[in-house]
Symmetry: C2
């Protein structure tokens, strides 16, 4: 068996291959026909990969239940219930609880009642939860009542559950309403009238919401396994369906109190994450929603869960750090930034830059400077770090000298990077320092190979169009043509000035000395030559 | 008849309709069957529209020749020959000359000989000129020689023509070579050997060039009428074919002396302009080629011809002005700039701007300032003029105060122009003046309607990402969402921060805190919401 596991889900496969749905279904099917001792490791492997796959959890736990492994069953339920808000799995749970407590008399009944409450607290908002509400009512009705007082208590308990069930938009809401009517009428025709007319509008509203909610729910594929987004159309459609359902719930269509509404929203997000477990945007939206609703601590916990699900997501880490920084938890934010830095060898340039900016914001100029000096020495420090630090010094500290020095120091190392040259030129342009801009272009172009210098030449020409006279403008264009013609095979004709060059020299912003049709014509011709 | 003319070519039609090729062909066909007095106005109308249509000129002149209108014939030839380097038209001309001089004896023969020389000087380089060379030789041979001396002179004249013909790449080059061999052998077997072995390699080279040239020539549609480019595929193909032929001739494939090579290049350009008469790039290339070859005066004349052909082409005017300015003819350049300004009402903003820049280059700061102060008052002066003048003051005169004042003055007039706001903000960014940038954004956003302010908000957010702290960054994004949500129908969900916003806050240059796949995913989702 283990050879099958290796073949279909082994480490030797690429990461995306790991989440092979067909292979998973084949395995789950095979496991069903094996004795539990052989099946268990297969389920464990499947559930490591698909921790929110309620259907596998159910299959797994049922296999244990079938052979009365009560301890194992309990353990599995404790691992999966709170992350898998799925009705069939939870009904399996209540079946187990009822069986386990059947012979335990009063104490057992109390345990079962608690379990029902616990369950309805978690999944009672599900559109498919109707049968559980009914089952609970039936269970409550079946409890022995030895005195009139006990009978009255039982009746009150049943009424309370009914009154919750008939304002919950489920598939069975109409039946539950009819049952409730009968129930009240059987208790007291007189009392019934008042109660029913009080609850009728609430039920009506819940039923209307049910009908709308059903449309959204029907768009969702409840059998889908949670896999990282591959960009397929089906995935996008599912993502969209979930976003719509979430937006619907967030709108509180039933106009219930905000605590109840929030509970439904949380329930929907949690269900959503069973299927879109690998979607960072859902985690982010969920956490942000909590933060906006005032539960920043819950938002923090959600980011922690999110990073367990998607440990490689840098953007979630930045989002998390931002939340911490926003609420003044600077040390927590710093720890997250440090986790982004990781070990020195694999630190990304962006992580260096964002950490420098973070330090500048939270600890000041000196801390940022110190870190920059270290980061510079990192083997994979790219020119971006120099640009970011120089611009920070210029824009925030208004220190043009340091900024200039940083650019100059970077130039020693990144003279071969045309994009660095352009950034440096931009900086000098902000200083309005044409002498140095010209010198920079000349220095760079004397060392860059022609194929790397296309953009630098282009910028040089633009620069002369703004800062130069006609002769210097024409000269740099001619030089550009000569330098670049060495790369192409266009030969002598590429050296000639074209009318398109004239157009570019005598344009300004979005104003052109010709029609857009002429422009198209000239551009098309340029590309044909 | 005139009603037909009106219908098909009248002023009431749109400009492009004017160049209706089918209508022209129908008219030309009709004219052929009318008496010359009725046909003449039709031809005149056709040739006003298609002044380089050799086939219509030929038809027109032949109609006169058929009725022996010698004066009219002469007049028409004088109007068309030099602009229409087409062999059939010129053969028609030589036929006319021969007829006219037939009965005039020696004097007539001399006239005809001059006409042949004149013709071969203009169209002798044509690939189809073989028959003319032959006809000339036949004509020369037919001249009476009354003495040995005259016979010798005749022989020398014939030889000279042969020796030109056999180094010209024409369809008849091989036949001409054979004729020449026979000719020399008939004159003197002994002399022939030396002459033929001297000319054999030149002939070989010309023949090789002929074979190549033919490939280029065959791509050209010699029946095409010159119409303004409409962007059709057929036109592009013809344009390309001409560019290839021109490039071929410019390469001097026969390695002849540069005067002869230049003559062929000029001939090819002139022929090209018969068909691509409305293509500014051809006029420009031709003029530039002359300027580069040292004939700047010819280049100037070409620009004048070009502007007769395309009086509305601003880009040709700028190119012309540039040539004059480059060679120091500042007054001529100024006249061209003034022609671009036209009357005040129709002056384009770009013409104002380019004239200010020209004045700054050639007459100095004060002249430019004066013109700017006037141009400001022009009814169609747009914000571009302010931007251009301010940037000139800043970049060239290093006068940040004037630049700032100009931007500020412009703001009073162009507060409603988001693009002006962005230019002003760019300028303040160069001054590193964040207090004023922030103030500008606030001022602008308090008066711009939401649908006009999208880009301003975007730039404001980018600005805070560089200059602000985390709180100001998040605040401006929130304000942006609130302001812009009022325009769309997205409602509350558009107000929420998205993970894409996080990604944009924590990106730097081309570094992103996520994969490009993630980016696509987030972007796609953004557009779905």
């Amino acid at each position: 068996m283990s050879s099958t596991v290796d073949k279909t889900m082994g480490d030797s496969k690429a990461l995306d291959d790991k989440y092979n749905i067909e292979a998973a279904e084949v395995l789950a099917n095979e496991a069903q026909h094996l004795p539990i001792t052989e099946a268990a490791p297969i389920y464990e492997q499947l559930l490591t990969l698909f921790p929110t796959a309620a259907k596998y959890w159910k299959q797994y736990v049922e296999a244990h239940m079938a052979v009365n492994n009560d301890d194992a069953t309990k353990q599995i339920f404790s691992r999966c219930l709170l992350n898998c808000l799925q009705i069939p799995l939870w009904r399996c749970y209540i079946r187990f609880i009822k069986m386990a407590n059947e012979s335990k008399g009063l104490e057992g009944q109390e345990e079962t009642r608690k379990a029902f409450d616990f369950m309805l607290n978690y999944v009672g908002a599900d559109i498919a939860s109707g049968p559980i509400w009914m089952e609970y009512i039936t269970f409550l009705k079946s409890l022995p009542a030895l005195s009139t007082q006990e009978e009255s208590q039982r009746m009150t308990a049943v009424r309370k559950v009914y009154q919750k069930a008939i304002v919950t938009p489920t598939h069975h809401i109409e039946q539950l309403w009819r049952d409730y009517e009968n129930f009240e009428n059987s208790v007291s025709r007189q009392l019934a009238k008042g109660l029913l007319s009080e609850y009728q509008p609430k039920f009506n509203s819940a039923r209307a919401v049910y009908r709308e909610r059903k449309k959204y729910v029907d768009e969702i594929d409840w059998n889908m396994l949670a896999v990282p987004p591959s960009g397929s159309y089906k995935e996008e459609v599912q993502w969209m369906a979930w976003k719509r359902l979430l937006a619907f719930e967030k709108g509180n269509p039933q106009r219930i109190d905000s605590a109840s509404s929030n509970k439904r929203i949380i329930f929907t997000y949690e269900q959503c994450l069973m299927y879109l477990y690998h979607y960072p945007d859902i985690w982010y939206d969920y956490a942000t929603w909590h933060a906006k609703s005032g539960s920043v601590d819950t938002a923090v916990k959600l980011f922690q869960r999110a990073l367990k699900a998607l440990p490689d997501s840098e953007m979630l880490r930045y989002a998390y750090a931002e939340l911490e920084e926003s609420r003044g938890a600077i040390q927590s934010a710093k720890k997250i930034y440090e986790s982004l830095l990781g070990d020195d060898v694999n630190t990304t340039t962006l992580a260096h830059i964002q950490f420098i900016r973070f330090l500048r914001r939270t600890e000041g100029v000196e801390a940022a400077r110190k870190y920059f000096l270290d980061a510079r020495k990192s083997p994979n420090c790219t020119y971006h770090v120099y640009v970011a630090y120089a611009m920070m010094a210029f824009c925030l500290d208004k220190d043009r000298e340091i900024a200039h020095n940083v650019f100059e120091a970077g130039l020693k190392r990144f003279m071969h990077e045309p994009l660095y040259i352009l950034e440096y030129a931009d900086f000098l342009t902000r200083l309005n320092d044409d002498r140095n801009i010209r010198a920079l272009f000349e220095r760079a172009l004397s060392s860059l190979p022609p194929e790397e210098s296309v953009e630098v030449w282009k910028r040089f020409a633009q620069f002369e169009q703004t800062y130069g006279d006609l002769a210097s403008m024409l000269k740099v264009e001619q030089r550009r043509k000569e330098a670049l013609s060495r790369t192409g095979e266009e030969g002598a004709s590429a050296l000639e000035g074209s009318l398109q060059d004239v157009v570019s020299r005598y344009s300004f912003m979005d104003l052109w000395p010709c029609s857009s049709k002429d422009l198209d014509h000239l551009a098309r011709q340029e590309s044909w030559v």
